[in-house]
């Protein structure tokens, strides 16, 4: 049975992609984030601007193309997310 993703889960997925796919250290493009994030372009751009505004992602502009890299605050958020995901899972809940 498929389960809907909560907003916090979607954020964690985007941050995880930005962290794991940034192999060359130049950031991750929106196409990669869209492919892995499984959501519409409009929703993704809105979410990305929110995450950049919150300081969880860093936006890098080169040749008019935006690339995104996880920030230290984003890494801390992911750590807390996985920690409390286990906590919620103990109670049989999902974050």
């Amino acid at each position: 049975m498929s389960q809907y993703r909560t907003q916090v889960r979607i954020i964690a997925d985007v941050l995880t992609t930005a962290r794991d796919m940034n192999t060359e250290g130049a950031g991750v493009g929106i196409t990669t984030l869209l492919r892995k994030g499984n959501m519409s372009y409009t929703r993704m751009t809105k979410l990305l601007s929110e995450l950049v505004g919150a300081g969880l992602l860093l936006e890098m502009n080169s040749d008019k193309i935006s690339k995104y890299m996880i920030s230290d605050k984003g890494i801390q958020f992911l750590g807390a997310y996985h920690n409390f995901e286990k906590f919620a899972s103990s109670f049989g809940l999902r974050l």
Partner: protein
């Protein structure tokens, strides 16, 4: 003898309040860091349970401070209401599938207050608590069947003990002349809370270090 039983019950109520409020605090830390609504419901549940235990401890204290005795009936019902609300949020954390219309919801809130005596209200609150906990146990067992997490099984066990405790609490209200029943219910609930607290202890003081490869 009665004084000893009251003292033991009072101590257990305070321990219950401490454990519940500790779980609420750990959940609240999760809410602050992740803004998760599931954790918010869990925080609310244990906050109400903790407050319920505290209020019931005040009822116990009325044995030693007779000037509190005039408040006892109201306070007993308030404590039970807080506790039932806590169990409701615990069940609600699992997203109760039953939909209640807004009008019926208001009616359910007002009806008991205006038509029932304190004794009847206490009985209803206790049995409601029992059903909410039972729902929580079933949902948690389903969650265990999915995630096979031993901590989830512990939580289900803890909730089951609390459920038995609430059932005995209901019996103690029916047979209120048997002092032992109210002591037994609080002991069973305390053991249940302790079992719940075992997985939470990992997060309680300072919290687990994130073990995410970064």
């Amino acid at each position: 003898m009665v004084a000893n039983l009251t003292l033991i019950q009072d101590i257990l109520q305070f321990i219950g309040a401490f454990v519940s409020l500790s779980i609420a605090y750990v959940s609240y830390r999760g809410v602050k860091q992740t803004e998760s609504t599931s954790l918010l419901r869990l925080t609310t549940a244990f906050l109400f349970l903790g407050l319920g235990f505290l209020v019931e401890a005040v009822v116990g204290a009325s044995y030693y401070y007779p000037q509190l005795a005039t408040l006892t009936t109201t306070v007993v019902v308030s404590g039970l209401m807080l506790e039932t609300t806590g169990y409701f949020f615990l069940a609600f954390s699992h997203a109760i599938d039953v939909m209640i219309s807004r009008k019926l919801g208001y009616a359910l809130l007002v009806f008991p207050v205006i038509t029932l005596s304190a004794g009847e209200l206490s009985n209803i609150l206790s049995i409601l608590s029992f059903f909410f906990v039972l729902y929580g146990v079933v949902e948690t067992l389903f969650a265990y069947a999915r995630n096979k997490n031993p901590d989830t099984l512990l939580i289900a066990g803890g909730l089951a003990l609390i459920g038995v405790g609430t059932f005995v609490q209901w019996l103690s209200l029916l047979y209120f002349q048997v002092d032992l029943l109210s002591l037994v219910q609080i002991i069973i609930k305390e053991i249940g809370l302790m079992v719940l607290f075992i997985p939470v202890l990992n997060f309680a003081v300072g919290g687990k270090r994130p073990n995410v490869p970064v």
